[in-house]
């Protein structure tokens, strides 16, 4: 399975476009557009607007998310921004501040 991994000491300032899964353990600032799944790991810091199929957040995200399938914020996750997705899961312990729109 082809997969992109951004390591913990990597900082990307720009945009990421992809048609495969993306796992972020480092820092990304800018814009992320994927056709598959985005995983923000615990050490990951994302300051970007995200457009993807699903998002799973274990780290830190600041920005707006527009997902065509699902957005999940796990217990270690912290998010500030708006979420627009048909399905949303916010686990116990997660921190979230923003608007939620499930009417896609």
């Amino acid at each position: 399975m082809a997969n992109t991994v951004i390591g913990s000491s990597i900082v990307i300032d720009g945009e990421i476009l992809g048609e495969e899964d993306l796992t972020i353990e480092g820092t990304v600032k800018g814009k992320i557009i994927l056709k598959e799944n985005l995983f923000v790991e615990q050490s990951g810091v994302v300051e970007a607007d995200i457009e993807t199929q699903t998002v799973t957040i274990n780290g830190q995200v600041t920005g707006n998310i527009s997902a065509s399938d699902k957005v999940e914020i796990r217990s270690d996750g912290r998010m500030v921004g708006d979420i627009k997705a048909p399905r949303i899961i916010i686990a116990d312990g997660a921190v979230f501040k923003g608007n939620v729109d499930m009417d896609v």
């Binding site: 082809a2 992109t4 991994v5 000491s9 990597i10 990307i12 300032d13 720009g14 990421i16």
Partner: protein, 209 residues
């Protein structure tokens, strides 16, 4: 989930922007912008990089368009194609690789553009000495020529008189009279580069006013 010991940009991923990191980076997709790493960059077959890179090592098996600056080694493998400049102490280009650009390994001494400049500055000095001789018989060269051109008629007369009387008196008289005149001396240096092409006639025309 994956081998998270290094960063991998997958085949179907495009990154545009600036990338910085302290770990190895493997590119199988597309990266445009700039890459700064303190470790090894590997562009695998199928990877396309349009970026300027500042890394420790670079191993290119894909397509790279951009300049690579490495502190250790740059290697272009058989499948690798690169257009751009390489600046690194060690460079390896394997048989079958394609490369177009400049290679700078930094150890070679250079000796080119500086010497000609020195020569041009020296030339005017020689013309300088030759210039005043036809203009006036005075042995002191830069001073009499300068005074002439600047002060117009009154200046001309003074040096001539002193020259007729004694050559030795000239330097003594001149400093007293030419209190404001010393500044002209640096001028020759500025205009130094010009004389060779300009020749002598032009200067006179300028300052006649």
């Amino acid at each position: 989930m994956n081998n998270a010991f290094e960063t991998i940009v997958g085949e179907q991923t495009t990154i545009r922007g600036n990338l910085q990191g302290d770990e190895d980076l493997t590119i199988r997709g597309r990266v445009e912008g700039t890459i700064t790493l303190s470790k090894t960059l590997m562009v695998e077959t199928g990877g396309i990089v349009l970026a300027d890179m500042d890394v420790k090592n670079a191993v290119v098996s894909g397509v790279v368009v951009g300049n690579i600056r490495a502190s250790e080694v740059v290697q272009i493998n058989e499948d690798g194609r690169m257009v751009g400049d390489i600046t690194a102490p060690r460079v390896i280009i394997v048989a079958g690789a394609s490369f177009k650009g400049n290679v700078d390994m930094g150890d070679i001494d250079r000796a080119r553009p500086e010497p000609p400049r020195m020569e041009t500055t020296e030339r005017p000095r020689s013309t300088f000495s030759s210039r005043p001789t036809p203009a006036s018989p005075a042995p002191a060269r830069p001073a009499p020529a300068r005074t002439r051109e600047r002060a117009a008629p009154p200046a001309r007369k003074e040096p001539e008189r002193t020259s007729r009387s004694t050559r030795a008196s000239k330097p003594a008289s001149k400093p007293a009279k030419a209190a404001p005149k010393p500044p002209p001396k640096p001028k020759p240096r500025r205009s130094a580069p010009k004389p060779p092409s300009v020749a002598k006639g032009k200067k006179k025309v300028r300052k006649k006013k």
